[in-house]
Subunit: 151 residues, 8 copies
């Protein structure tokens, strides 16, 4: 049973690497996908390829749509969508991905610190698990695939 | 052609009333729905009906799920989902609703001020219109239903 | 906003009447449906109409399928599926209906006493609310439709 | 034609092993999946990974949801869902899985002894086969894949 | 609960009238639909409106497609599809409608005499009821809507 | 049986009026919808409501998306989608609507003159009828609803 | 591009072998599936595995349902469903499969002699091709996969 | 992450080869599919295999339907559908494919020169990217798969 896991959300810490390394160390059969996490490339990809725009709105629009080709495939192909909310920024794209995942009946895992608990209650309510650390995600994927618990 | 419109998001200003009044004044045939906008009721409905919880997480969880009965019906029955992002707060539930609406192929209208333009680029990219004022929403619904433009 | 509510499960107490009466008293706009609750008719409808069977299995089979015409329409047309588990009997049809409701993305409310808590954990985990009394269901439907809380 | 088969339900006897061994002996091309059948791990996985809960309800809730990541993938990826009801316990999760399988148009095989015939009539009515022994399931999968009947 | 019932199949006897009259006499709330049952009109509608064809194949093709506008709406809008197989003719369109109804998760009732039992076993196996007379269909619709049995 | 009919495509002749008048004269129960057919309003609606754009591409883009709110509802709510191709212009939006209608399993009627026969072969191949005149569409809708043929 | 092709219908001639051999000779990348074509096994599989039945109806019913596990997987996994109608018998299961294939948006090819043309007009109208010989099916699959025509 | 890309539309220039060669040079993991681009074969395939037709309409019809077996599989299996509109011809099949792709939630890329900008505004409005050159498509697929930008 290969698990397909999409890692959505915060791009300023190395949480994706921790999860992927942890699963690799455990020898799990998981296929990960993720958005482009190079912030500048993600912001400018649209105009870099398709030509400049006179306004910031359409500059952003072209890039957001180009990124959507990747993110929608990632979400649609996934069994599990992990969405991490970091400490800073609005991160509305993360919540948007969570809403898509929920509507598409993907198993949703939300990853965030306790400070965001109240603000994320609607997202958490749609999730099958709410974790605080990447290690917990590794442990859950290990359990889901093998039935074994840590320790 | 009755249009079913769900008004999601910010609950601290009277933007829903403005849209509903504007459409009523114009004599449009629109059926509006919305989440419960009484902030205290929305936060506490779960424990008020189903019993208290020892932790804030499950207190919030019960309420968020009870509210989801209403919000999901609203979104699933809608032709058009309008999501407003206000000046303050994280408003992740608004972005979550937008993601659900997009995945369910609802026509999405996003309503926000220029300050949020960059942070909302992924949500805006999934929308059929991005507006700044409730009046613009009334004008769009008027155009969609009747084909007439303002002025 | 008319709510369509299907009342599935236990047929030996008058919980459906309590919910319907409570909603009627509150003046809610709810359309209820339910399985046939006449136990003998439900058990024998197949052979009564379509002819006797030499074995109990096919006797039951014909009735179960005829009842399914009603129950599936009820579930498929519903916004909310309330499933009650009573004190006695296996009630596997109730859990089966809950599984169908979950797979069809209906809002699921489970109604049962504390004794069944552990045995129903998977069903409860798929629900948007777990209640113990019909009154709580009335209060939830009132909240979902009107946004008002009891007392 | 690889058949994907999910083995749901009773975890106290070795019926899964019998079916898997029988299909292996016959050289069939079947990919099996199943829930975690370690009862303690299944009951406690949620709190073991995500932290303890003060109440039994949420203790169970966290585990049931974590297990759902595995069971829903199993059911959604399956061509055939086999659900076994044992002699004891309520086994509502088994009936719930059967309901999900039926709603998702999976081919459903129910496996139970004659004592449960009447109580399972609604579940059996949704099935494409009702068997009493694991051997019969092996024989059916053999027939489905190869068109050959037992000796 | 209005039941939508599509009456497919044999057009040489008045079985539809019997069912409709029986349901009307019983005061049921059923909305019936059916294919065009005027055999000549059904055969020639395509060329009568859209122009003659030099070959029988395309003559038939144009009519079959025009009739499909009506039959597909009937089937797609139905809760229950009743398909009757008469004594004569190939009636492949009836079996085709039954296959569509099954794939679209409609409740299927098959109506035929005992002579066709073996030849219709696959169709019957997909049905929720197999009846021999229009009266039985009336009795089933009465039971489904009201829960009452004949006599 | 109310038929919902969406009238897509060419906006330079009064073919919609002819169909609607013909159906009204025949007393049919048909609910028509259509895109906004005021060419200037359709081209400029986006900027008229949501603000001017510095480039023609985004000017057109905003209008096309606003119009899509109406056209998608029209197509999604329709039983029958009639798409007319006129003598002039590219009319790619008409073919696009036809593609959407086909993918959504709507009954498709294509209306065009003989000059376009070869160029429209792929669209015609997805249709249930290919007509040349609005009168033929009226006659087909009459037949679909009543089973009667002209003359 | 592997094509998945399900070969439904008549089991008394070797038409499946002709198609499979022709595609093998042409070196096409096609994965074929088919129902069990051993007539006796197909008729008796249910009771052979699950136990005898006192009536012919349920004898047939059990076998038909067991066969459905195979046929539904075949149809659901297919890109193309070829349905052959032979000279004899009612072959309602073939028309039923065609109806399922059409409702599931599979590309349908119907294979029959000219005698059945009128009786199969509704089935043919739902097909993307109507052929008379297995060779034509081989030629079509060759064209679909490679773009080359015979001769 | 293998990307499946369907290349629809104009068949008179070598744009498909440019995209495929560019992606091969970049070492991307992309599986391309496309319609049959041999114009004569595409026009005549139906009659070449299934027999001549006395009218041009049915000649074209048979070929268009046979081609649809390939094009629908291509679109349905694709993650990304690229539709190119060339300088000449009506190309309604290209716009039809774009409409199908949009309705099936495929990521749509439209490729056309500036002359067609206004006429294609509805198609462009449904796309995630609008490009002018095959190189831009290669650059976008490179970005989507690897996150790297040109230069």
């Amino acid at each position: 049973m290969t698990l397909s896991v999409y890692l959505s959300g915060e791009i300023h810490t190395n949480w994706r690497d921790e999860i992927m390394a942890g699963c690799a160390d455990a020898g799990l059969d998981v296929a990960f996908s993720a958005p482009v996490t190079d912030h500048d490339a993600s912001d400018d990809c649209g105009v870099a390829i398709l030509g400049t725009e006179p306004t910031k709105f359409w500059h952003d629009h072209k890039s957001a749509k180009l990124n959507a080709i990747r993110t929608r495939k990632g979400i649609m192909d996934a069994d599990v969508v992990v969405v991490r909310f970091g400490e800073k920024y609005k991160q509305w794209n993360a919540a948007f991905d969570a809403g898509m995942a929920a509507a598409l009946n993907k198993s949703l895992i939300v990853l965030h610190g306790p400070d965001h608990q109240h603000a994320l209650k609607e997202v958490d309510a749609a999730a099958l698990a709410v974790a605080e650390t990447p290690l917990q995600v590794v442990q859950m994927l290990t359990y889901v695939q093998r039935g074994t618990l840590p320790g």
